[in-house]
């Protein structure tokens, strides 16, 4: 077969005019789910001019093709299912179940009161205790959560942000009681407060003191917890709040740069903390766009860390990430279809080169997942890893005309957003001006309009509907758990030494007012069994609270 390349620029134009135009297109929206136009064909003309500089090889700058040379031939991604509900006892059981079924690391979901810094017996906690995650009020709850699990051996992820420093202190003290020192602890705590103001909306303090607390944790971990990742810079929630893939990428990376800048201002060396920054992205349903997003993220992070922030240690340049399939893509209608969606999204994350992965359960548009649904989600990852063969070679889609073109466009879109945000005075200022919040609200409204107009079909929702969608069994949280948790908390309050708690909280407030690193007094508060709510309220006395001016 003779290939007749008539030179760059000519082949595709000629083909389009002579061949493609001969037949009409379907009446459909040929854009990605984020609204990026997609051409009918991609060819060599769409590849970057300098392939070595832009694409390169796995494990080499700019890491477009993966952060490690061997990728999944060396080590498969970590299967990390997020779990948590009820009290620490119930979640401890689920943890052991997951570890017994081939999961490698633990991932903790906290309930809403814990995420907002409220004790379980706070007035605002009523009805929310243990519902969306596990309730942790004190060091004792953390000890129960990890009972029988060797904290020095397992790697743990904790999804908590505004009060992350408090939970880290509980974790350190719980480990101490197992005889495990902070330097032995491996894991990740999310701590990404910027995306809370942007998207997830769980906060305790105003933006500036919240950033100071994050920087305290980065500094503490750089010194005392070398195996711990103090921040997981997260696009997941930005995407779930309705952003495009481009916004997810841009806002997340910009958040990351902002943490780097704050740590540098603190006087830390970039190579002392940057290797332990990690990322968390969404794995949405638009397959190729998602793969391009991960590839662009690696390239941008490596380039900026090296060229803008002066990193010299190669590990500082590696954008290592966790991915979770898109909760927002799941439908309450015909819920078994969600198994398919999740499998496709998980495959995109794997082809995008993720380091760990959570697959959602098919019943999550309805409630917290049942054990059966969790097992199917876990098995989905195992099918990808063991049966599909996609793990045998690094970046199997590298060099694909389409994927490389999308990767370039993704990068351009991110830089355009960086410029916008810089014009507003950086990410902290942009957040205060509601800029990313407004961009996301606009994007989610546009998408919803397209769905409502039938321009985008969501199977089972606005197309291929069936009457009387089959009801499936969902997990119900026993309301008794709330009373049980309040009982646990009040028992701790009775047993501990009140004066000890008071003096440690006073020391904490003093450190907050005087710019001393808060991690050390927080660990003392954890040892004295101060509750999360008491600690957060103490800090609020110094820092104040936060109220959003919503934009819609």
């Amino acid at each position: 077969m003779a290939t007749q390349l008539t030179g760059k620029g000519k082949g595709k134009d000629r083909w389009r005019a002579e061949r493609y135009a001969a037949k009409p297109e379907r009446d459909a929206l040929f854009t990605t789910i984020s609204g990026e136009p997609v051409e009918p064909l991609y060819t060599e003309e769409d590849l970057p001019a300098d392939l070595d500089a832009e694409i390169g090889l796995p494990g080499e700058f700019p890491y477009t093709r993966g952060v490690y040379p061997s990728m999944y031939r060396g080590r498969l991604w970590t299967v990390r299912q997020f779990a948590g509900f009820g009290t620490a006892e119930e979640t401890n059981e689920r943890f052991r179940y997951l570890l017994g079924h081939g999961q490698h690391g633990l991932s903790t979901a906290f309930d809403m009161p814990s995420l907002m810094g409220h004790d379980s017996d706070h007035a605002k906690s009523e009805g929310e205790v243990g519902r969306e995650g596990v309730a942790i009020d004190t060091t004792e709850d953390m000890e129960t959560l990890f009972r029988g699990i060797p904290m020095g051996e397992v790697s743990t992820s904790m999804t908590i942000n505004a009060p992350a420093a408090v939970m880290l202190a509980y974790y350190v003290v719980a480990a101490e009681r197992q005889g495990v020192a902070p330097e032995q602890l491996a894991g990740t705590i999310q701590t990404d407060i910027l995306k809370e103001y942007i998207a997830q909306k769980e906060w305790c303090f105003p933006v500036d003191p919240a950033m100071r607390l994050v920087t305290d944790m980065i500094e503490y971990c750089a010194k005392d917890m070398p195996r711990w990742h103090p921040v997981s810079i997260s696009g997941y929630h930005i995407r779930e709040a309705g952003s495009t893939a481009q916004q997810e990428l841009a806002f997340t990376l910009k958040d990351g740069f902002t943490y780097v800048e704050h740590a540098l201002e603190r006087g830390l060396d970039v190579d002392d903390f940057a290797p332990r920054l990690s990322f968390f992205f969404n794995a949405h349903i638009d397959f190729f766009e998602e793969i391009a997003k991960y590839r662009a993220a690696r390239r941008i992070w490596a380039r900026e860390l090296r060229d803008t922030y002066g990193a010299r240690d190669e590990r500082s340049l590696l954008m290592r990430c966790h991915a979770q399939t898109a909760g927002v893509s799941l439908t309450a209608q015909q819920p078994l279809n969600n198994v398919t969606r999740t499998a496709i999204e998980a495959l995109a994350a794997v082809l995008g080169g993720t380091q760990s992965l959570h697959t959602n359960s098919f019943d999550e548009a309805l409630a917290l997942p049942t054990e059966e649904a969790v097992r199917v989600a876990l098995r989905t990852q195992q099918v990808i890893a063991e049966e599909t063969g996609v793990v045998h070679t690094a970046d199997p889609l590298g060099g694909s005309y389409f994927v490389e073109a999308l990767t370039d466009r993704m990068e351009e879109a991110a830089y355009a957003y960086f410029a916008q945000i810089d014009e507003l005075g950086g990410m902290v200022e942009a957040i205060k001006q509601n800029y990313p919040q407004r961009e996301i609200a606009d994007a989610s409204f546009t998408y919803q309009q397209e769905v409502d107009a039938g321009q985008r079909i969501v199977v089972g929702v606005n197309g291929y509907r069936e009457g009387g969608d089959g009801q499936i069994a969902t997990l119900r949280i026993d309301p008794e758990l709330e009373r049980k948790q309040i009982g646990r908390l009040q028992a701790v309050r009775t047993r501990r030494t009140g004066a000890d708690v008071e003096s440690n909280l006073a020391t904490l407030r003093d450190a907050a007012a005087n710019d001393r690193n808060l991690m050390y007094p927080l660990i003392e508060c954890a040892r004295a069994h101060a509750s999360e709510g008491e600690i957060v309220e103490s800090l609020q006395q110094v820092f104040g609270t936060y109220t959003e001016t919503p934009v819609f």
Partner: protein, 134 residues
């Protein structure tokens, strides 16, 4: 349904600690685009704060968005407070991840309609326009 010249006033509210505001904001905007006057409370509102807003704004309808699973605690309290304040004629609707099994009980408490995931925006706009007496 005809509204005469009167503008429908709707409070869109996020009760409890739940921060998932994507749906609430889309609905708020769609109701506004449909010509209604929309008051969005913002996040983390107590039942008392929401009912206070409804009364202050003299709203015809209030939409609660809840995705946290706490609806069986929060909705009954808001319904009760509306009743106590003599505002039972305010059209109370709920949206979010509400299991089918809970819907009859919510309706008995005075919830006019429950919109679960997958409801179209137009459906909600039409419902409120129809339910608020002209």
């Amino acid at each position: 349904m005809a509204q005469g010249n009167r503008k429908i006033r709707v409070v869109v509210a996020k009760p409890g600690l739940d921060g998932h505001d994507r749906g609430a904001k889309i609905i708020a905007r769609a109701l506004r685009d449909a010509g209604m006057e929309v008051i969005y409370t913002g996040l983390h509102q107590t039942p008392e704060q929401i009912v206070e807003t409804v009364l202050q704004e003299d709203a015809h309808a209030v939409g609660l968005s809840i995705l946290s699973g706490a609806h069986m605690t929060l909705v009954p309290r808001i319904a009760k407070l509306l009743g106590e304040q003599g505002a039972e004629e305010v059209v109370l609707v709920v949206g979010g991840t509400i299991p089918q099994d809970d819907i009859p009980e919510l309706k008995e408490l005075g919830v006019a309609e429950v919109f679960t995931p997958g409801s179209s925006v137009q459906e909600i706009v039409d419902y409120i326009q129809g339910a608020v007496p002209a």
